[in-house]
């Protein structure tokens, strides 16, 4: 169980995380989504006791991280796969961690096999490792203490599609055995396939949080409609006071299927497609709610850059 309550972290006067609250329940995978600079990493570092909250509380397994006697045995943490000594070999990195948390070094072999780094890769110095290999090594370190909870910052970075698929299986497996997983990403597609729950952060504020399917449903932009004459159909719908938006692929209509069908019948237009536009809902949510965050220090000009952001505030 991970719990973040009214967490605020300021660097100077600039809030990096602003009154963020969310929880990760046992057995679920929570996707922590947001563009670079939105506050994901800061939140995770506060959660792991590496950064002090300006206000608010973050707990893991019911305790503040710093109060966990032997955190490696409770929380598997991967915050930055690049943060290894370039001169140490993969196996040595794991051995040091194993000795610190007091697990037998046979666990090193277990996790090396688990992340598929057994053999030559485990004997490479980390400077010789690809980013994907370092991510696997980071995951191995996180899993070493057989933790109850996983906190992973951008674990899919640098993994190839096969690696991402493999990692999904691993996380699903972990969650199915009751462990809550918090994993961050700036790519929606990475998280969408594996997460049960989503927390979307932008400008340090939680823009949306909840079950993935509910979020998808609530952000469904009505129906995606295609026809042989979109212009005529659009006119007919607008005459019925139905809101219609034109997209590259056709129309997005905020009304029930029956309304669209009747309007098409009345206007004599042949419908060729009529489906919920759910597929794009989450992506739109992600963009509208987090827009502008990537501008980083140039935040003053952010609102102009993406007008839609005003609505989300």
């Amino acid at each position: 169980m991970i719990s973040v309550e009214h967490l605020t972290k300021r660097f100077g006067t600039q809030p990096s995380v602003d009154d963020a609250s969310f929880t990760c329940a046992p057995g679920t995978i929570t996707g922590f989504l947001g563009p670079n600079g939105a506050g994901k990493t800061t939140t995770m570092r506060v959660l792991c006791g590496l950064s002090r909250a300006t206000s608010g509380i973050a707990t893991v397994d019911g305790r503040a991280y710093v109060d966990i006697p032997n955190p490696g045995r409770v929380v598997g943490v991967l915050l930055d796969a690049g943060a290894t000594h370039p001169g140490r070999r993969g196996r040595e990195v794991l051995t040091l961690a194993a000795k610190t948390m007091g697990v037998p070094t046979t666990r090193v072999d277990d996790v090396l096999a688990l992340v598929k780094l057994t053999g030559r890769p485990e004997h490479l110095r980390t400077r010789q490792c690809s980013l994907g290999m370092r991510q696997r090594l980071g995951l191995a370190t996180a899993l070493l203490g057989d933790p109850k909870v996983l906190v992973l910052d951008e674990p899919a970075n640098g993994l190839d599609p096969e690696g991402i698929f493999w990692m999904r299986g691993l996380l699903r497996d972990f969650a199915d055995r009751g462990g809550p997983v918090l994993l961050s990403s700036h790519l929606l597609s990475e998280v969408e396939a594996v997460a049960d729950q989503l927390v979307v952060i932008g400008h340090g504020r939680i823009a949306a949080a909840g079950r993935k399917d509910e979020l998808l449903a609530s952000t469904t932009g009505g129906l995606a409609v295609t026809s042989l004459d979109d212009t005529a159909l659009s006119r007919a719908l607008q005459a019925d006071d139905v809101s219609v938006a034109s997209t590259r692929d056709g129309l997005v209509v905020d009304a029930a299927a029956e309304v669209v069908g009747r309007a098409a019948l009345a206007a004599g237009v042949v419908l060729t497609g009529l489906a919920p536009s759910a597929g794009h809902g989450l992506e739109e949510l992600f963009f509208t709610m987090t827009a502008g965050s990537e501008l980083g220090s140039d935040q003053a000009s952010a609102p102009e850059a993406r007008p839609s952001m005003e609505e989300s505030r």
């Binding site: 032997n70 915050l79 930055d80 943060a83 000594h85 697990v103 277990d110 057989d146």
Partner: protein
């Protein structure tokens, strides 16, 4: 990939903090498991043997004196162990391994304590190497220079020889902690002995100021031939406070409060 492999064979004690001794052993291993660490140890051994060569070939009538040369081993060897002490701290920040270290041991002062313990172990080991190398030098020096070998050694000669080594190493450790950056710490560590005497040339005072503020000057008043006076010990203590306790306290506080990442 299966459930079987992701489950540890047995859950070990999770509610006990890793004992300090265990953390110190890890820190000791970290100090010597990289190329930088191994090179420093190799160079330390070479320097120690270099001093021994000096004892054997240029020692003159003192070439057979164990106590004298054990003392002279302290400063040059101390410099290299000091760099190792600096790197013990700074490499965590330089390579950002601090992130993983403090994630596993969130009570940061315990990590610093473990590092100090590891550095002390290294210092004692270095002293043992010095002692062995000096023994070799004394045996050979007596023969080469044709003087009697004098193996006599009093407790205070051992203490003073060790103190010269130890203070050097602790200053390195403290400067590493203060700067959290290898380059700054090493530059300051080496610039101080060079610049301090120049600064003290500018000071005119009835009392000699240098031994009270410069640990180098304080250590230089010690000799292998005589037990240090109370004043000399006091000077070692005050300069250690200035060069070890002060930077270490400021550095430890900074580590405690800083953002890791």
């Amino acid at each position: 990939m299966s459930t079987a492999t992701t489950t540890a064979p047995a859950r070990h004690e999770t509610s006990v903090r890793p004992p300090l001794g265990c953390l110190a052993a890890v820190e000791l291993r970290k100090a010597v498991d990289t190329r930088a660490g191994r090179w420093l140890i190799a160079i330390f051994a070479i320097v120690s043997l270099g001093v021994t060569a000096g004892q054997v070939f240029t020692g003159g009538e003192k070439a057979g004196s164990y106590a004298v040369w054990l003392f002279f081993q302290g400063a040059p060897g101390g410099l290299l162990v000091s760099i190792l002490a600096i790197l013990t701290i700074t490499s965590e920040w330089g390579t950002r391994t601090a992130l993983g270290t403090f994630a596993l041991v969130p009570r940061r002062q315990r990590v610093l304590g473990a590092k100090l313990a590891a550095v002390l172990v290294l210092t004692v080991a270095a002293f043992a190497v010095n002692a062995a190398s000096t023994a070799l030098g004394t045996a050979l020096g007596a023969v080469v220079q044709d003087v009697p070998a004098d193996w006599s050694l009093t407790w205070w000669q051992v203490v003073q020889s060790f103190v010269v080594l130890l203070v050097n190493v602790l200053v390195g450790f403290a400067l590493g902690l203060l700067f959290l950056n290898a380059a700054s710490a090493i530059v300051v560590f080496f610039a101080v002995p060079t610049l301090a005497p120049l600064l003290f040339l500018l000071v005119t005072s009835p009392v000699e100021v240098a031994p009270w503020v410069s640990y180098i000057a304080a250590l230089q008043t010690l000799t292998p031939g005589s037990l240090a006076t109370g004043t000399q010990w006091l000077q070692v203590a005050t300069t250690s406070a200035i060069w070890v306790l002060l930077p270490a306290a400021v550095g430890a506080r900074r580590v405690q409060r800083s953002e890791i990442g």
